[in-house]
Amino acid sequence: MVTVDRGRGHRVFQWVNGVILTGVVIVTLYPFVNIVARSLSDENAIRSGQVNLIPRGFTFTTYEYVVSDPTFWTNYRNTVVYTVVATLIAMFLTTCYAYVLSKKDLKGRTFLIGIAVFTMFFSGGLIPNYVLITSLGMKDAIWAIVLPNAVNVFNLLIMKTFFEGLPAELEEAAAIDGMSTYGILLRIVLPLSKAVIATMLLFYAVAFWNSWFAAFLYMSQTDLFPVTIFLRNLIAGATGASSVGADAMDLTVAANIKSVTMVLTILPILGIYPFVQRYFITGVMLGAVKG
């Protein structure tokens, strides 16, 4: 009798759970579907509030318009360049330091780890950073975006944890064969670390692709903007952040142009997401292991 009751309770729970999780999926995906529908809709249909999940006044002309805008392409190309350069530098620095930190009986290791970890909980703050970057003459240069965020301590700790888990015997054997530390890192450790390297590449690349604030602070010329700033400037019109008091309608950039830009900015991430998300998850798991 008791088991039957529990069984029914369980079935009800499974049913309710299914409904809740379906709700979560719908709520998560809804804004994406809405924005795609808007990007394919006629401007008048959007203005009159007809566009929800399905495009109204279906048209590709907005895509053609945005794609033929030279500023958009310059900014898009900038994003690609910034992302590639920044990711490479970040990978180099992070790998080197993580490898050093993974050597458990290196003298001064605790101090070296402390230097990195302390910055997770205390940072110089916006103003001193701004003053520094400005006085280094890095305004309007790619370095203002690349260098200040070149090492992410979370990523550093993930890599360190991974290196610590590699079998020590291989490195010892290589050392006995006379291979130097550099050789060991390049020819023994890195080939064994493809999984974590892929994860780190993705973490950094996505972060730099998405970043906007550094460019917002330090870039003043339109042809240096990444695409995120291109998009921000479109949105700024809509929130009235740039000029207030004026008629909101006049300031608003055509809604479908914003939508198209958003779709094109998300597209590369959505494109690779299904194939790489397991790497992201592995990365977070590694990071969770206390170092």
Partner: protein, 338 residues
């Protein structure tokens, strides 16, 4: 000559031991030089491991220039700063800027806003991933489970600018929210221009962004709970709710506590980027927080010392919060970050 000999003997041992993660647990017979490690001097360490240390030079330079120099740069909070002059300011002025902002009503206003938004974020965004993880964990159908996970992680990978764009479109006068309002016979609301709606928009979009990704660590912790514990609880007559209460929740407690400490540490820095993208002078009454205020004071209005003084206070409060949360948690539940 002796040094060279020493070097030649020591070098291979140094590399092999330094690459051994289990270090001291190895019998010293395996690495003849191992015994010398505890009392090794810096000179010896550098001679053995200089290649390893050399790999740390550039990263250390990074930390020195872009992390620690700005920390020192905070002295401009106590010094007069001239734009274009020295990064460390011109002359000492003591606590002038601190006194100045403490008597600035706008500061107390944004301070209150920060506390309110931070508390709301913590209240709504901290427990949600736990609940969602518990629900996802109950799904027996593996492909369905993975689908729900994949979808819920997605918002985490979006640029803040895109998130802001989605929010603005969603609540715009012609957006879906207002379509529902109009459908129900109401008048459209320009949500993004109204201070009374800002907190709702901020917190709910924060939930949308973070809930899914936040489940990862909990789901991982859930898989490590021993099935025998559930077995034992069932034999003792515990139903599913009691099993959840007495087995599942204690099983994920260390994860929850760790994340809570980290969240508390981020309390003062609430969503700077998102607020900067979403707010406007009309919504300042509820949206303006310490970080956005000091951004405007410093970068926009060039009151660098004044803004640095506020920023320093913010960072110190953040550090104090995370340290005390860590201490309390270590005393109370035995979980801590370090």
């Amino acid at each position: 000559m002796r040094d060279q000999l020493d070097d030649a003997v020591a070098a291979p041992g140094a590399v092999s031991t330094s690459s051994d993660p289990r270090g001291a647990h190895r019998p010293s017979s395996v690495r003849p030089s191992g015994k010398r490690y505890p009392s090794r001097t810096w000179r010896q360490a550098l001679r053995r491991d200089w290649r390893l240390y050399s790999l740390a030079i550039l990263p250390l330079l990074f930390f020195a220039v872009f992390r620690y120099l700005p920390m020192i740069g905070n002295v401009i909070a106590f010094r007069k700063f001239e734009p274009g002059g020295s990064v460390l300011g011109e002359e000492w002025v003591g606590l002038r800027y601190v006194r100045l902002f403490l008597s600035d009503p706008t500061f107390w206003h944004v301070f209150t806003n920060t506390l309110i938004l931070g508390t709301l974020t913590l209240l709504f965004c901290f427990p949600m991933p736990i609940m969602l993880a518990l629900l996802i964990n109950e799904v027996r159908h593996q492909r369905l489970k993975r689908f729900v996970q994949s979808v819920s992680y997605l918002p985490h990978f979006l640029s803040m600018v895109v998130v802001a764009g989605l929010i603005v479109e969603l609540v715009s006068v012609d957006g879906p929210v207002n379509q529902i309002l109009r459908g129900a016979g109401g008048d459209p609301i320009a949500f993004i221009q109204q201070p009374e709606w800002f907190r709702t928009i901020y917190v709910s979009s924060e939930m949308w962004q973070t809930v899914g990704w936040g489940t990862i660590l909990y789901l991982a912790a859930l898989t490590t709970i021993d099935d025998q514990l559930y077995e034992a609880a069932r034999i003792d007559g515990a139903g599913r709710w009691r099993q959840t209460w007495h087995v599942t929740l204690p099983g994920i407690r260390p994860t929850a506590v760790t994340l809570l400490i980290l969240n508390i540490g981020a309390f003062m820095a609430v969503g700077f980027e998102k607020i900067l993208l979403l707010y406007n002078p009309l919504t300042y009454p509820t949206a303006d927080v310490i970080s956005t205020y000091l951004y405007r004071m410093g970068v926009v209005s060039n009151n660098f010392s004044y803004a640095a003084a506020i920023g320093l206070l913010e960072a110190l409060i953040g550090l104090t919060l995370v340290l005390s949360a860590n201490l309390i948690s270590r005393r109370a539940v035995g979980t801590s970050l370090w």
